[in-house]
């Protein structure tokens, strides 16, 4: 990739040049996501629906009740995961950090496991029989409570401990503890609860209904706005905590905002779509290579847009267009995403740029 535009060291211009391309791409994949699925709706039918016309009733239902909320969810969730991954990689200055490194999603998983298993154990399995792809608010509430509990724990401890490595290890330990508790719960549960739980861990964009969409979208958009407000301190943190403080940044305040924003984004995503992996760790790296910069004024909007695009593509692939098969999102993200990222990174190293934070 050429370095045009870096003569004066400004990566913003290059980003603004690429912006129409990215915006166009996101519209195209959004349309494709609306068209493709177990029933393919042709493009002109989509246009008819969008301009207020009528087509086959089954298409109308699929389109409005199913495809549109799913596509909006995918865009928001992809952006949120990429963004929270970016925040964590910059905060910990570690290329392996992802949105879940603080243990947020593990807390959410524990909440979900408790709700599902207790229902199973109490013999109330019938109530939850409909769970699965249609989703249920009780799962979201349980997940948010679990994520929130972990966030409180992390904030409490980080007010006492300065070192971000300690917080990193702490988050990993919280994940292990939650994982252990989930395993114990699974041991005593019914087979159907276990199946429901494992379906939830596969991740899905399809569980969010129109009534749930605003509840998910508002906190995610708040997280996006908070991230835009963080671009300057995030850039300063690239030089490390000590330099950032020497330039007048209030480190303690900023890290609380970073941790809370990440928890908000990752927690809400997990609550509504399950613990979707890979996107959060890979997209920030992809964006750095693609935009050839570590400047967060480029990376924050870049991650939101690229995250949205990739989540939409993932969703299209996972529904295997033209068939009734639905593959787990988590399998698709890793299976198709990893080779792409490997290619981007390996190609990068030829120019002396590998994975860097």
């Amino acid at each position: 990739m050429k370095l045009d535009g870096t003569e004066n060291g400004d990566s913003m211009k290059r980003f603004l040049l690429a912006l129409p391309l990215i915006a166009g791409l996101i519209i195209i994949v959004f349309m494709l996501d609306l068209m493709l699925g177990s029933v393919n709706i042709p493009f002109d039918a989509i246009l008819t629906i969008l301009t207020g016309g009528t087509v086959k009733e089954s298409w109308m239902n699929i389109f409005w009740d199913w495809r549109v909320p799913k596509a909006i969810t995918a865009v928001l969730v992809g952006g949120a995961l990429a963004l929270s991954g970016l925040l964590m990689q910059t905060y910990f200055r570690n290329p392996l950090a992802d949105p879940y490194i603080l243990g947020i999603s593990s807390g959410a998983s524990l909440g979900v496991a408790i709700i599902m298993m207790s229902a199973g154990i109490c013999g109330a399995g019938a109530i939850f029989a409909r769970i699965g792809l249609l989703g249920d608010m009780s799962i979201s509430v349980a997940a948010i409570l679990g994520a929130f509990a972990v966030l409180l724990l992390i904030l409490l401890i980080s007010s006492k401990i300065q070192s971000n490595i300690t917080i990193l290890i702490l988050g990993i330990m919280v994940s292990y503890i939650s994982g252990a508790l989930v395993t114990i719960l699974l041991q005593f549960t019914t087979e159907s609860s276990m199946h429901t739980y494992s379906l939830w861990t596969f991740g899905s964009f399809s569980g969010v209904t129109w009534s749930q969409l605003p509840i998910m979208a508002v906190p995610l958009l708040a997280g996006f706005i908070l991230s835009f407000c963080l671009v300057k301190p995030l850039n300063a943190l690239l030089l490390g905590e000590q330099y950032a403080e020497s330039m007048g940044m209030n480190y303690n305040r900023i890290r609380i905002i970073i941790i809370t924003t990440t928890a908000l984004l990752a927690g809400v995503v997990t609550a509504f779509c399950g613990p979707i992996g890979f996107l959060g760790i890979a997209i920030p790296h992809f964006c750095r290579s693609f935009f050839i910069t570590a400047d967060h004024r480029v990376l924050v909007p870049g991650c939101i847009l690229v995250g949205g695009i990739i989540a939409l593509i993932t969703d299209i692939v996972s529904h295997v267009p033209g068939t009734d098969i639905v593959l787990p999102i988590n399998a698709i993200t890793a299976l198709f995403g990893a080779p792409v990222v490997i290619w981007v990174i390996v190609r990068g190293t030829k120019f002396g740029r590998g994975v860097t934070t």
Binding site: A236, E245, T293, A294, G352, R353, T356
Partner: protein, 345 residues
């Protein structure tokens, strides 16, 4: 206080404490003074408390007692942003930031001046570019920091500190990772910055020879935590400099202004040559292999340097005859063969 005073400390004690008690006092009763445009080198043996002093002077660590006055104002009274506009730092730890150009890094120095999004104005840009130019890193502007050598990276970090437009720049061992020519270059850049921009510079350094030659003022901490300040030349002449650093078997050579490497003494020499570079390096070579000047006594060996049309020749005379050598290497080999420890003193 004169208005030229940038940093003043009176009765400063530095060290570490936990919640209540003082755990370790590193140094006490420090009285320090740093003027505008002055370059001060802080030197001292490992473990003497250089880093603690630097951390205290930059306000990262609280003093045990006494005050640090930055521009006649207590450093604790500064807001983080005000402090950033008065004091900038270059840390020892190397920056591992990928995908950042030199321009991006130096632009971060504008942090205390830019708006919430860190947007650079035209004047910010000019300051960044001129900071890069004044450290001789103009051609690095668009290059990525992770593709730079240690020396180039250090220049960029100095430019970043400069772009912060402070009154005082504090550098913690800025020459630590560099080879000798780059050490000297870094010191030259800092001297230039101090003289041209009238910024004050405080740096800690391990290289004593460089410190003596570059600093307007030396602050020496010895092993007991005593701090001595003064012009380098005064400190050398009074013998304070040597005594602060000499350890068993290593002595400070006040004439050369460096620490001599002790060698086993093998004899005395008489060197006859005109004043020239060849004479000086022949002298060094003889000292290196263990000979000292004979003075008025009879020498064990005598060496003379004469110039002919092809360059210098070395003549080594000993009781058995004279050798004509084309290089110092030959001379040294000759002396080793013929002065085979036979009449050691």
């Amino acid at each position: 206080m004169s208005d030229a005073s940038i940093l003043t400390c009176t009765g400063l004690s530095i060290g570490y404490r936990n919640q209540k008690a003082i755990v370790k006092e590193v140094a006490k009763d420090l009285n320090l003074h740093l003027d505008r445009g002055e370059l001060v080198c802080l030197i001292g043996p490992n473990g003497s408390g250089k880093s603690t002093l630097i951390r205290t002077l930059t306000g990262i660590q609280l003093p045990l007692s006494g005050d640090v006055l930055l521009c006649d104002r207590k450093i604790g009274d500064f807001s983080p942003e005000e402090k950033a506009k008065t004091l900038s730092v270059v840390l020892t730890s190397q920056v591992q930031a990928g995908y950042m150009t030199a321009f991006d890094i130096v632009a971060l120095g504008r942090f205390p001046y830019t708006n919430w999004a860190g947007k650079l104005t035209e004047s910010d840009r000019e300051i960044v570019l001129s900071a890069l130019a004044s450290v001789g890193a103009g051609e690095l502007t668009g290059r990525f920091i992770h593709e730079m050598s240690d020396g180039e990276r250090q220049k960029v970090m100095i430019a970043r500190a400069l772009a912060q437009e402070p009154e005082l720049m504090v550098l913690d061992e800025p020459t630590a990772f560099l080879d000798l020519p780059h050490k000297i270059e870094t010191m030259r850049i800092l001297r230039n910055v101090a003289q041209k921009t009238k910024k004050s510079i405080l740096l800690s350094i391990h290289d004593l020879n460089l410190a003596i030659r570059c600093a307007d003022q030396l602050w020496i901490i010895d092993r007991r935590g005593n701090l001595i300040t003064g012009t380098p030349e005064d400190l050398v002449l009074s013998g304070i400099f040597g005594s602060a650093f000499e350890i068993e078997g290593v002595h400070f050579d006040a004439i050369r202004g460096e620490f001599s490497i002790p060698v086993e003494r093998r004899g005395t020499f008489l060197l006859s040559a005109s004043e020239s570079v060849e004479r000086i390096w022949t002298l060094y070579a003889l000292e290196r292999i263990g000979f000292v000047p004979a003075g008025n006594a009879a020498p064990d060996i005598s060496v003379s340097v004469r110039m002919d049309e092809n360059g210098p020749r070395w003549y080594y005379s000993h009781p058995a005859g004279e050798h004509n050598c084309g290089s110092i290497r030959e001379l040294v080999e000759c002396i080793s063969v013929h002065h085979n420890g036979g009449d050691n003193h």
